[in-house]
């Protein structure tokens, strides 16, 4: 007999899929696909939020699900796709470490975050606590994605995915952040995205490329 109720199982499945998506992002080298994966991640997040909202009956979670849908599934990916077209960056360069190596490090990161989450989730009172480890893993994996990428574009995508992980973590540990915080974060992400968009254009104007190693030449004394 499976001891978990069906909606919890669904939530676990969502969490696992989020992790799977994080790994696909880690190994994906086409930026277009990376953005699509991000959108998919947003959709999963939205579904998970809806599930938790329905389960706990907390109204504000519906609102945040709607926000996720609007911003992370539709808004940002559209914006990113437009940026990709206008900037004409479809492929990331060969990653810093090869794919298998990155995945292996990713695996160790997962082991670490799962181990880290277990004592914390033992303290948490929410039913969704077992997914906390996955949330931490998603955050760290996105971090890893950022480290291993060369193009500014993919780093931004990874950054957004990290935000998704944070959001998911907050939801699984405490049933979501207060609405004010959530709105603030959403606004931050939006603004950050716009600012970064402007930056992209500036970087390209300056260096004719979005490859970040050109920025290294900005270092003082050279």
């Amino acid at each position: 007999m499976s001891p978990l109720s069906f909606d919890l199982q669904l939530l676990n499945a969502c969490a696992a899929l989020l992790l799977l998506l994080s790994f696909s992002m880690l190994s994906q080298r086409r930026i277009v696909n990376l953005v699509n994966l991000l959108a998919l991640q947003g959709a999963l997040l939205c579904a998970a939020t809806l599930l938790v909202a329905w389960r706990t009956g907390q109204g504000h979670l519906y609102l945040s699900a709607a926000l996720t849908l609007a911003l992370k599934v539709i808004g940002l990916p559209l914006l990113l796709h437009r940026l990709i077209r206008r900037l004409n960056v479809y492929w990331d360069a060969e990653p810093v470490i090869n794919t298998s190596g990155t995945m292996l490090i990713g695996l160790l990161v997962v082991v670490f975050s799962f181990g880290l989450a277990q004592p914390i989730s033992a303290l948490a009172s929410t039913a969704t606590r077992s997914t906390l480890g996955i949330a931490i893993a998603v955050i760290l994996l996105s971090f890893l994605t950022m480290i291993t990428r060369r193009k500014a574009m993919s780093q931004v995508v990874a950054f957004l995915s990290m935000e998704n992980g944070l959001f998911f973590g907050a939801m699984s540990a405490t049933y979501g952040m207060p609405m004010v915080v959530e709105l603030g974060v959403a606004l931050d992400v939006l603004v950050a995205m716009l600012v970064l968009g402007v930056f992209f254009f500036q970087i390209r104007e300056q260096f004719d490329s979005l490859d970040l190693h050109h920025l290294e030449s900005l270092k003082e004394g050279e």
């Binding site: 298998s100 695996l107 160790l108 082991v111 799962f114 277990q118």
Partner: protein, 667 residues
């Protein structure tokens, strides 16, 4: 000393006989007839006797004795308990096969005199036996050092070759660094009583900190002997240098004495090990297993390849040791027993399969004079006996059912699989990753062994000279057959072996006596009722199907079988150099695990008329760890050398100052 029959006395008598055989060789040291053809078979008989005695004695309680040897007031204490019996059985059975093989192997005019070789060989055997029986630090260290020295002389049999001398030196150096560490470990374990019998160490109560220090020192010392990464560097140097029977003995048996040492120290002398020591052993074991196997895959010298494969197997064994400690320290007795049985089983297996392989390479070496895989090939036609017997060893070490390598792999994986309830979260998460590494290493071992066998024995001969290769002689075949049969027997009858090992595990881990589950043909660990493996049935069914398929096809098939030139997609000018080389076969591994290797490539340019391609694979640890270490030692030595002025007066001054200082200290 009590002279009535006891297993302990009988075992000691066998060791004594080995010593006597060795000395007998010195009567006429130049005579190959006496040394090799007469004394080595006698040594083999002693080995069989030892194995029989040890097997019979496993289930009997421990016996002890005091030998009137050694210094006054410091006699040798000896003790035989189930753990020692297992390793004695391993020593006896494996060395019997190797001794038989050696009878036909050693030739005239190769390095050391036959009589000397006979002495070193048998002293080596006897000292390994004494290591297993020793019950005080003094006897242990004497035996351990004798073992190291005799094996050093055996390694440098052909001491006129500079490479062999330097390989021997490296071996001796690491062996001694290890021995010092073991000695220090004993020093810690006596716990202030200043009694160096093992009984005193068992009785000593060490604080957890000191116990950890003792364990760490023992791990370092025995790890150096076993070839754990990063103390593995001597293995790939010493094995190619040594004569093949010696390589077999060192790899098959001597490495196991180090495993015995770790088990003895952690479970017996230190009482109950702390669980996290297990993680150390586990981590080092997994690292060695992985490191060893990927380096084995890229070797081009057949004995070097086997040496790296030994590092892998030692890694697997230490993984088992680590798992045992983790389980034991977490109070999971049944699982600890399972892991320990897997460990001991793998020790036995490795002794047989690695001996087969090393002896096989010995025969190839004698027949062709080549160790380089790039100059071998097609030997299955010239040396069918060696080829087919080696194939058994190859399949066994690749972990394929129904042979013995698979059984220990199966047990180890079962132990990993049912580890889910270790009461520590991080360990819980890490253990499955460990299982994954073990699985990966086993699969890679298959890769290595296909390369080993395929390049040496299959395909076309890569050199014209190979056409004159001859098969091994009758006695050599007999030795190989003995060991190969061991592989098959250990593979097909695991339950009988495990029931015996179970006694050892329960004795060592201080678990209540119980019965191993399963029928005589079906292996089913008590800790995991829902897992079973019946090699006889599996093998039987597969054999029946193969036979039926063969006979059935022959019965209905009405067409001819004829011989023709190889097709190779219609390519006509096929020659032996178009086959994959050993370098080529290792290429995927070099590609996938590139960061681990230090590669120097020489690539031809498009304009070369005689293009040469060359890749040498080096060990990163050598440059990262050993060379700086060596440089530091040299630097320090240079500084110390400044004390050497060469004037008598200065030296007298040193003595004077020392004397004064000591007197001041005493006052």
């Amino acid at each position: 000393m009590d002279v009535s029959f006891s297993y302990l006395n009988a075992c000691l008598a066998v060791l004594l006989a080995w010593g006597a055989i060795g000395l007998a060789g010195m009567i006429r040291p130049r005579s190959l007839g006496i040394a090799a053809r007469t004394l080595f078979p006698l040594g083999a008989l002693c080995g069989i006797a030892l194995a029989v005695l040890a097997v019979l004695s496993i289930a009997t309680p421990a016996e002890r004795a005091v030998l009137p040897l050694g210094l006054p007031d410091l006699p040798f204490h000896v003790r035989r308990d189930p753990l020692a019996s297992v390793f004695l059985a391993l020593l006896g059975a494996a060395s019997a096969g190797i001794s038989i093989f050696s009878t036909g192997y050693f030739r005239k005019g190769e390095g050391a005199l036959p009589g000397l070789l006979c002495l070193e060989y048998h002293v080596f055997l006897a000292s390994m036996g004494l290591v297993l029986l020793a019950d005080d630090a003094y006897a242990f260290m004497v035996a351990w050092e004798t073992m190291a020295l005799s094996s050093y002389f055996l390694v440098t049999t052909q001491h006129r070759i500079p490479e062999i001398r330097s390989a021997g030196f490296l071996y001796l150096l690491i062996a001694h660094v290890g021995a010092i560490s073991i000695l220090l470990s004993f020093g810690v374990m006596q716990g202030g009583s200043w009694q160096f019998t093992f009984d005193a160490m068992r009785a000593a109560h060490l604080s957890p900190g000191w116990a950890t220090v003792a364990f760490g020192l023992a791990m370092f010392g025995f790890g150096a002997k076993a070839g754990l990464v990063p103390l593995h560097v001597w293995l790939p140097e010493a094995h190619p240098a040594a004569p093949s029977p010696v390589s077999a003995l060192m790899s098959g048996v001597m490495l196991k004495t180090a495993v015995y040492g770790v088990l003895r120290v952690s479970f017996d002398l230190l009482g109950t090990p702390q669980w996290w020591w297990g993680l150390v052993a586990l981590g080092l074991g997994l690292l060695s297993a992985f490191y060893g196997v990927i380096f084995a895959a890229v070797q081009t010298d057949m004995k070097r390849l086997l040496a790296w494969s030994s590092i892998e197997n030692v890694g697997v064994i230490f993984t088992g040791v680590g798992l045992t400690i983790v389980f034991h320290g977490s109070g999971m007795g049944a699982l600890a027993a399972l892991a320990l049985i897997a460990t001991l089983y793998h020790c036995l297996n490795h002794a047989f399969m690695k001996s087969v392989l090393f002896l096989g390479t010995g025969s190839v070496l004698h027949a062709t004079g080549e160790r380089n895989l790039g100059r071998l090939g097609g030997l299955i036609h010239r040396m069918p006996w060696v080829a087919w017997l080696t194939l058994i060893g190859v399949l066994a070490i690749a972990g394929l059912p129904p042979l013995n390598g698979f059984v220990s792999e199966w047990l180890l994986l079962q132990a990993f699989l049912f580890a889910g309830d270790v009461p520590r979260t991080f360990v819980n998460m890490l253990l499955p990753v460990g299982a994954a590494v073990v699985a990966l290493c086993t699969a890679l071992a298959g890769y290595v062994m296909v390369k080993f066998f395929g390049v040496i024995f299959l395909g076309q001969p890569r050199e014209a000279a190979l056409a004159g290769a001859h098969d091994a002689g009758l006695v050599e075949r007999l030795g190989l057959l003995w060991l190969a049969l061991g592989c098959v027997g250990l593979g097909l009858f695991p339950v009988q072996v495990i029931e015996t090992l179970d006694v050892v595990a329960r004795d060592l881990l201080k678990l209540p006596a119980g019965r191993w589950g399963g029928d005589w043909w079906l292996l089913a660990p008590a800790a995991a009722r829902h897992a079973a493996y019946g090699p006889l049935a599996l093998f039987g069914v597969t054999l029946i199907v193969v036979a039926l398929a063969g006979l059935g096809v022959r019965a209905v098939y009405r067409r001819r079988v004829r011989r023709g030139p190889a097709w190779d997609c219609g390519f006509v000018r096929l020659d032996a150099r178009m086959q994959d080389t050993a370098e080529g076969f290792g290429q995927p591994i070099r590609h996938v695990f590139e960061p681990f290797f230090q590669m120097v490539r020489e690539l031809p340019t498009p304009f070369d008329f005689a293009p040469r391609y060359r890749v040498t694979v080096g060990d990163r640890l050598w440059t990262l760890l050993y060379l700086p270490l060596g440089a530091t030692v040299r630097w320090t030595a240079d500084r110390v050398a400044r004390l050497q002025q060469g004037r008598i007066a200065t030296y007298l001054l040193y003595s004077f100052v020392t004397l004064i200082a000591l007197l001041a200290l005493v006052l």
